[in-house]
Amino acid sequence: MRESKNVWVLIEIVRGKLKNVSLELLGQGRKMADALGEKLVAVIPGSGIREFAQVAISCGADQVLVVDQPELKDYSTDGYAKVVCTLIEKYRPSVMLIGATNNGRDLGPRISCRMKTGLTADCTELEVDEETRLVKWTRPAFGGNLMATILCPDTKPQIGTVRPGVFKRPAADPDREGEILSEHVDLKEDEIRTRILEVLAGEGDQGVNLEEAEIIVAGGRGVGGKENFRILRELADVLGAQIGASRAAVDSEWIPALHQVGQTGKTVGPRIYIACGISGAIQHLAGMSSSDVIIAVNQDPEAPIFQVADYGIVGDLFEIIPELTKRLREKKAG
């Protein structure tokens, strides 16, 4: 059997927009490729996506495999799995990184199963053991109560999906050079068994994208009602932030489910997370504790959220948040 080598990063482009996590993975993949003394290869399936090849190179890729075909305009499990598996069989990478987005987590298991290899989901730490040349994939389990380090010692490629927002985007170097290869994989119409008919905005909340947000203002039970989220929105507007919510707020139907942060919602890693009236159940913490800076406002000084907060204000959010909004507004004005 041919030796497997090179680190692959699957680049995800959705409706013409590159997912940030793809860039984060290029940064991480570069380090892994260097540790192994192998190449970093970006794989870009899609339609009309050639422009992104240079972006991948500027962020660290040595080589880019571009699969630019009209059948790949929309993501489909069937189409994308066939493309990626065909390329894996052709080139035999040793490692493959996929963003742990909804599409990435849809596709990853399909690929690993077809290739009869191991997949580690939702990794938050990646390391290469230079002696064994194996990737040490580390991920949370049991709702964030436990971390596990996983190896895939006997099969290749070793595949992992990686949480968005955990790693930093590398600085782009527009002068960096790399090789761009065009690939084609035959896809018959009936091989793609799903069809996207329509894209619906998230229940009146267009453009919620917590995974890629730089600042999140999140509300929990303490917000007390649907109307009161207005106070958080005003702060978010001043900060250019996105609105998050705890399960309690979503279950009370104060805010749609797309905003939910935590184990049954989204995992986020913004630069700043402002938790308002959120007690901090372990399931919520599992979704936000990789934020760079956590600011919490809560009435209850014993609330567990304060155990993870870098800055904790004990007080009434209905006084604190409007005051903060006002002060930041004044600051921005001059």
Binding site: V14, T77, D78, N102, R105, D106, G108, P109, R110, C113, R114, K116, L119, T120, A121, D122, A141, F142, G143, N145, L146, M147, A148, I150, C152, D154, R193, T194, R195, I196, L197, V199, L200, A201, G202, Q206, G207, V208, N209, L210, E211, L239, L258, T264, I272, I282, Q283, S289, I295, Q307, Y311, I313, V314, G315, E319, I320, E323, L324, R327, L328
Partner: protein, 265 residues
Amino acid sequence: MEMKILVCVKQVPDTTEIRIDPKTNTLIRSGVPSIVNPFDKNALEAALQLKDQYGAEVTVLSMGPAQAADALRECYAMGADHMVLVSDRAFGGADTLATSYTLAAAIRSLGEFDIIFCGKQAIDGDTAQVGPELAEHLGLAQVTYVAGIEKKEEFLIIKKEQEDCYEKIQVKMPVLLTAVKSLNEPRYPNIMKKMKANRMEVPTLTAKDLPDLLPERLGLKGSPTKVKRTFVPSVRKTGLMILGGDANGKVSELLDKLAEAKITL
């Protein structure tokens, strides 16, 4: 013809009840109740709603130790028609690939299904892999993160949850779907059915009943991933607490401290 629907469920420890022993820094699992994985209940509820609306035969399937039969009994009490447990020492220690391989063989032995439902992920492992891997083994189309289902003859129109929107996806049955929480509100088990289920023997498939299984693909041995080490995550330290003063004073203190730390809001 009546639809045939299979729902895969997993018995999991209620992770909301798991605590860390502060002395040994390990998980305290004793006394933690076992529950039906919450997303699997959404999956079952979706199956039962299709049954209520169009008529369907709903089978629940679980792989696990003998006590996982209790999870199946709860599903029966919610309205499932048949229960099947897949249980054998040879299946123990399986990662998602070996698990899905075994489940796929069990499903093949049960016949063909129009829809196979799974929860989007189990709350203990959180991998979200078994569903898609099962679809791969069975050669089925899949839609994951399902937040809405509409049936149109042999097609399903699925509302799929994405990070920032929903997609309306058309797919023809047979198909494997994985359910998110917002899909529905699972019904409560019926007490009378619960009592009946408790007296029922749960049909069990062992390795012997699935002769096509290759022994080298089962359990720990058939698992390409190996857990090297588990550890309790380092907890973030409590930072600065701002307790005293009025709202104005507290906000001033926060902004000052952020400025000192060169954190810009």
